[in-house]
């Protein structure tokens, strides 16, 4: 029997998810022996044409990392969907929109203006912009178009499973690949990580009080962080209570608060709203102005609560109607 064929692809991504695959190190060897990697542009010399030449459903599974922002990424996602029996959204960007998804706070034209004209780092007196088609010596060169929104993979094509995390923890990748090879998969649409909150697997949970009361929200560089106590109890916005476990509380082990890369558990519909609710309730104060003053200490609520999930959220990005609202 021939080995199952698998592929890896990246869209709007930082490369960290590709690195995670490489990080599998010796853990990847049994996988490599058990499968045929037929597409992995970062590491192996396969081209789009090779994928186009495949019959439909040729690949047992394709892992796609990165969000969707351009026409090319959308076309590749559709192509890989057609050629794969299973599509796994790999990493926070693909799962929830991730860091690139924060760009949904700005409209497309403002992003292009900023990047190609306004930025202090750019000298572009003729305001030259990239074109989708440019004539060069009688030939036409083309570039993908830049969409008006960042989308998650499942807002673009049908997705079978999700491997969460920025980047996904090695143990979860190995588990997922093993389950796929053994055909022991859970229901379609499952996030392949434990469905409990991160606080439950955090080594500091004993020091997390039942009724938290925070009178000052701090940023990590502002204090000397105690290495043993619950970070939230120290005033750092740690999102462990809203976040799915499965990373071994990696950031907390590094003495940094959880920023929520594993996303929500299955019981939450909007990660940011849930995380905001948890943090807001712990703030002390009887008078409105005291509460307001303490809440002001939280810099950048959108970046704090939707760091990885703005495109997946209920609002998806910045509303366009209220011109008067703060820019």
């Amino acid at each position: 029997m021939s080995k199952p064929k698998i592929g890896f692809y990246w869209c709007a991504s930082c490369g960290g998810c590709e690195e995670a695959v490489v990080d599998l190190a010796e853990d990847i060897l049994p996988v490599v022996e058990a499968v045929d990697i037929v597409f992995w542009p970062v590491a192996l010399d396969f081209k789009r044409a090779d994928v186009e030449a495949m019959p439909d459903n040729e690949m047992a599974v394709c892992f796609i990392n990165g969000a969707i922002r351009t026409s090319e990424q959308e076309e590749m996602a559709q192509l890989l969907r057609a050629k794969s029996q299973l599509i796994v959204a790999f990493g926070s960007c693909s799962h929830m929109g991730g860091i690139p998804g924060l760009a949904n706070q700005f409209v497309r034209t403002d992003i292009l203006d900023r990047v190609y004209y306004d930025s202090q780092m750019v000298v572009n007196p003729d305001n030259i912009r990239p074109q989708e088609a440019t004539a060069v010596n009688g030939d036409s060169l083309s570039l993908p178009s830049f969409d008006g929104a960042v989308r998650t993979l499942d807002q673009t094509v049908d997705v079978d499973y999700y491997l969460p995390g920025c980047s996904p923890p090695v143990a979860l990748i190995v588990q997922a690949v093993t389950a796929i090879l053994e055909g022991k998969l859970p229901d379609k649409g499952t996030v392949l990580a434990p469905d409990i909150a991160l606080c439950d697997e955090c080594s500091r949970k004993e020091s997390k009080p039942d009724e938290l009361s925070i009178n000052k929200i701090r940023r990590p560089f502002e204090i000397e962080i105690n290495q043993e106590d619950c970070l939230l109890a120290q005033g750092l916005p740690c999102l462990g209570a809203a976040t799915r476990s499965g990373c071994g509380a990696a950031c907390i082990e590094g003495n940094m608060p959880c920023t929520g890369c594993m996303g929500p558990t299955s019981r939450v519909s909007d990660f940011g709203a849930k995380a905001l609710s948890g943090l807001a309730s712990t703030i002390t104060g009887e008078e409105e102005h005291d509460i307001a003053r303490r809440l002001e200490q939280l810099v950048d609520p959108v970046g704090t609560f939707y760091r990885y999930s703005l495109p997946m959220s209920l609002l998806k990005g910045r509303a366009i109607s209220d011109k008067g609202a703060k820019a």
Binding site: E132, F305, L315, R318, A319, S321, D322
Partner: protein
Amino acid sequence: MYSGTTDSEADGFSPRIVAFFCNWCTYTAADLAGTSRKTYAPNVRVVRLMCSGRIDPQFILKAFNQGADGVLIGGCHPGDCHYKEGNFKALKRSMLLQRMLEDLGIDGKRLRLEWISASEGEKVQRVINNMVSDLTQLGPLTLFPGTDGSFEGALQEASPMEHQMEVEQ
């Protein structure tokens, strides 16, 4: 009686408000306003909860996502909450949510929290009429393209980049 008219209204815009009212106070007050014929604008869909502290910010975003132009929260006055601190939780959450909404381009007037006791039927009327007039002035809430899942607006906007090519001389 609610009788003001504005430009937006002349254009046929009538805001939709989702109201989350605590059973023990504001909901009763709204009932009272009804029975004592203190008419308020008919733009409000009321959801009754056992305490304002039960309002999850996810409910509020869901309301906006489903087409609400504004969300009103009504709870017991400080000290009167039947579950002690529920109304304070509601206050803290809505204050932070309001700030985050503004960062996401949604005017703070679209989320309003009021303490209204069971006997203040007149306040229900006043708050609702006032909110309707604020929202009418703001106009309909238009969220980020794609909030309905289609991304139609956003992808259409991604027409060729040529229109960017006005060279500033």
